[in-house]
């Protein structure tokens, strides 16, 4: 997270706070700078303040405190229609009384473009989303996915430098959603516009984004590229919100450099990478991705013993639920490769992992 004016930031939130009722803060001290051409995703659970941030950026809500800058210029007092920000709404908000062409022509007409210029831009935008043949239809005559494309085209037709999308794919089925994710991503790459994208679907965020801002409770928990976010979560919230994660609670009994030794409640110990633990004597949550756990046949000094509770055959891998020192929701993914370990329910096995993959984080 950066704070203070940033020279090459295109969009900047500086110490932004927002309250609707004057009692509770929906957005608490938001600092965020977004580079030009970046695809930034705001990811977070429902009610975490994502839409509110987007609305403040678009100008439909005013920040209670702090400043929002666009291209180095404070925009707190600029009305929405002068900000020149394209926006895709969750329900698309295509004007029902206008045809697709008229919808797309609307932003160009209000900008006073000539008729021929309008027509060519509309056509180009429709072709961009492969909807060239649908110009004369009404929005109600289009499928959800088609409406979505039109909404994207309309947000881009007037060549804004910044486009905001608030859960634009929320209403689509899984397959279509995945297809649209790639299409939006490609449009972003081709046009080089800056996109601020809101979703609460973490796989969508990982697929599309340059960087992801994980929101919770009005605070950005972590701002990082997808890989960092997945591999090296800063805190337990991020570790659990993104991807599948095993958590093991224990007490830190020693910290040696970046290695923390954690004692489980039953007295067993384990080594972990000290990332975000408070210190010796405090409790910590260990976070390990299921695919980073290996099953060893023999006991080693760093191995942890576990009892197999359940085996689920999933084709490409086998999902084992295990009991690890009193934590019985521990998941291990065993790849279904030739000669993988054979296990039976009730059996006790030894688990190992790289120290870096086991992160000692805060307790939530």
């Amino acid at each position: 997270m950066t704070s203070g004016p940033n020279v090459d930031a295109f969009v900047e939130f500086e110490r932004v706070q927002k309250s609707y009722d004057g009692e509770s803060l929906v957005v608490k001290d938001l600092n965020l700078s977004i580079g030009k051409g970046e695809f930034l995703t705001m990811l977070g659970p429902s009610g975490s303040g994502k839409t509110t941030c987007l609305m403040m950026l678009a100008g439909f809500e005013t920040a209670t405190h702090g400043e929002i800058r666009l291209n180095g210029r404070g925009i707190n007092n600029i009305p929405p229609h002068k900000r020149g920000i394209g926006m895709v709404f969750q329900n698309y908000a295509l004007f029902p009384h206008m045809s697709v062409n008229e919808n797309l022509a609307f932003p160009l007409q209000v900008r006073g473009l000539s008729k021929s210029e309008t027509e060519s831009k509309v056509k180009r935008a429709l072709d961009m989303v492969q909807m060239g043949a649908f110009g004369n239809r009404r929005p109600a005559q289009l499928s959800g996915g088609q409406q979505q494309r039109i909404a994207v085209a309309r947000a881009l037709v007037f060549d804004p430098e910044l486009v905001l999308m608030d859960e634009p794919l929320g209403a689509l089925d899984k397959q279509l959603r995945e297809q649209m994710q790639y299409e939006i991503k490609h449009i972003h790459e081709n046009l080089g516009v800056t996109v601020v994208y809101v979703t609460h679907d973490q796989s969508e965020a990982l697929t599309m984004s340059d960087r992801i801002a994980v929101f919770n409770d009005g605070v950005i928990q972590q701002l990082a590229d997808p890989e960092t976010l997945y591999e090296r979560p800063d805190n337990s919230f991020c570790a659990q919100f993104i991807g599948e994660n095993n958590k093991l609670g224990g007490k830190v009994i020693a910290i040696d450099g970046d290695t923390a030794t954690v004692e489980f409640d039953d007295g067993a110990t384990c080594k972990a990478l000290a990332c975000n633990c408070e210190g010796v004597g405090e409790r910590s949550l260990l976070s390990i991705r299921p695919e980073r756990v290996k099953i060893e046949s023999s006991q080693t000094p760093d191995s942890v013993s576990a009892r197999v509770l359940e085996l689920i055959y999933l084709g490409d891998h086998i999902r084992c639920r295990m009991d690890v020192h009193g934590h019985n929701g521990f998941i291990v993914k065993v790849p279904n490769s030739a000669g993988h370990a054979q296990m039976n329910v009730g059996e006790t096995v030894n688990l190992t992992w790289e120290r870096e993959d086991c992160r000692a984080l805060d307790v939530i």
Binding site: F60, P80, H81, I85, M87, H97, F106, V110
Partner: protein, 417 residues
């Protein structure tokens, strides 16, 4: 493959699927019909039948022909221009004697009087003496009243004797049917109905327009304010709706009359001197003010329900696309409220065009509407036939406007909530 396409599909029990489906659908329709039949019967007996019967009076009038059968018979063959003969006079005397006995002469006289005003007493007074008359009746009648020699009296009777007549419709449209069946315009000073109809339409249009102008912002506020405030506002809108029309209208009298609240305020503020108070009531203005107030909820409610269904994201989208507040409203919001405007306008207009009590109370002379005239003919002049004709004309005008509306706006575009 192709022959399976053409062969009838057979249901599980061997009957053709089409027949089974038809049977199943028939059951459903029968059930539905049975459910609505009590209402249907009620409507038929207490609504459609009486209205139909009443409207038929507009063109069907058998009073003269049943009460004066002999006269009617001879008049049917009369050409309406030649001098009536002794046979006519004899038939007339027979009928006059009979109607005097059955005490229906008054009705007959009233009926003929509609065709020829001033002829009422001619009938009643002659009928009293008719029993003693002796042939030749022509001379006897003319001796009693020399008006009996006038051909106009006979023409009036011939007009009255028609069972099926367009005379009342002609009258409702300021025309008159002569004895020979031709229709001519009424004399200038008796042409009132068309003027009245135009005034009725004009008042209704104006009331609709004012309701729209006043109701639109209120409906918008109702639809956009937070729930708690909008509920309160809604109660304020509905409160008059729950109050009796009579109470509201009389309240307006208290407000608007020359010694009323509004005028007192004007005088107090020096807007007008005491001796030249505004006449805000007992004229068209009074009708307009009171009716606009009374019909406002009919405009607000459909508008509100339509506006409530317009997500705020449309206007936001318009603004994010670069539209100013005004453009966003005018090009995105307003077009989506058209169904509400249509529904509200047609409701207000149709209720207004038949409005009766308010114009009767606050309309004075030039604030009267056609329904007040219909009422007059129903209760005072007892000319139900003309009332029916006026009512039918009004109904036809409304239906025509409705048809035009459907053409221009489209009925399915209308949304009542």
């Amino acid at each position: 493959m192709s022959d399976t396409h053409n062969a009838p599909v057979i249901a599980a029990d061997g009957t053709p699927l089409k027949a089974r489906l038809a049977r199943a659908l028939f059951r459903r329709k029968l059930d539905a019909f049975l459910l609505v039949s009590p209402l249907l019967v009620f409507l038929l007996v207490f609504f459609l039948a009486p209205i139909g019967w009443f409207l038929s009076k507009g063109f069907h009038d058998d009073l003269f022909s049943t009460e004066m059968p002999n006269t009617s018979a001879v008049l049917a063959d009369w050409d309406g221009t030649t001098e009536p003969t002794e046979a006519h006079y004899a038939a007339l005397v027979t009928d006059l004697v009979e109607t005097r006995k059955t005490r229906t002469i008054g009705k007959v006289a009233t009926r003929v009087n509609r065709e020829l005003s001033g002829s009422r007493s001619l009938f009643t007074s002659t009928a009293r003496k008719a029993a003693k008359m002796e042939a030749p009746f022509k001379d006897a009648l003319i001796k009693t009243k020399k008006d009996w020699g006038e051909i106009a009296v006979w023409q009036a009777m011939k007009a009255a004797s028609r069972t099926f007549t367009i005379g009342y419709y002609a009258n409702a449209l300021d025309r008159r049917q002569l004895a020979d069946g031709s229709v001519v315009a009424q004399p200038e000073e008796r042409r009132i109905h068309v003027k009245l109809l135009i005034r009725t339409l004009e008042i209704s249009f104006q009331v609709t327009l004012y309701c729209l102008l006043l109701g639109y912002p209120i409906a918008y506020l109702l639809a956009t304010l937070p729930n708690r405030t909008s509920n309160l506002l809604m109660i304020l809108v509905l409160l008059p709706f729950w109050t009796s029309i009579l109470v509201r209208t009389t309240a307006w009298i208290a407000m608007l009359q020359s010694q009323g609240v509004l005028n007192d305020v004007f005088v107090f503020l020096g807007v007008t001197p005491d001796e030249a108070r505004f006449s805000l009531i007992y004229n068209k203005l009074g009708t307009l003010i009171a009716m606009t107030h009374i019909l406002l909820p009919f405009m607000v409610l459909p508008l509100y329900s339509v506006m409530k269904g317009i997500p705020p994201s449309y206007v936001r989208a318009a603004k994010s696309l670069g539209a100013t507040n005004w453009t966003a409203f005018w090009r995105v919001y307003a077009p989506q409220t058209v169904p509400g405007i249509g529904a509200g306008a047609i409701l207000v207009f149709i209720v207004a065009i038949g409005y009766y009590i308010t114009p009767a109370l606050v309309g004075g002379q030039d604030g009267q509407m056609i329904s007040n005239f219909i009422d007059f003919h129903m209760r005072r002049s007892l000319n139900w036939n003309l009332a029916a004709a006026l009512g039918t004309v009004l109904l036809l005008v409304v239906l025509t406007l409705y048809w035009v509306y459907d053409r221009v706006v489209g009925i399915d575009n209308m949304k009542l909530g």
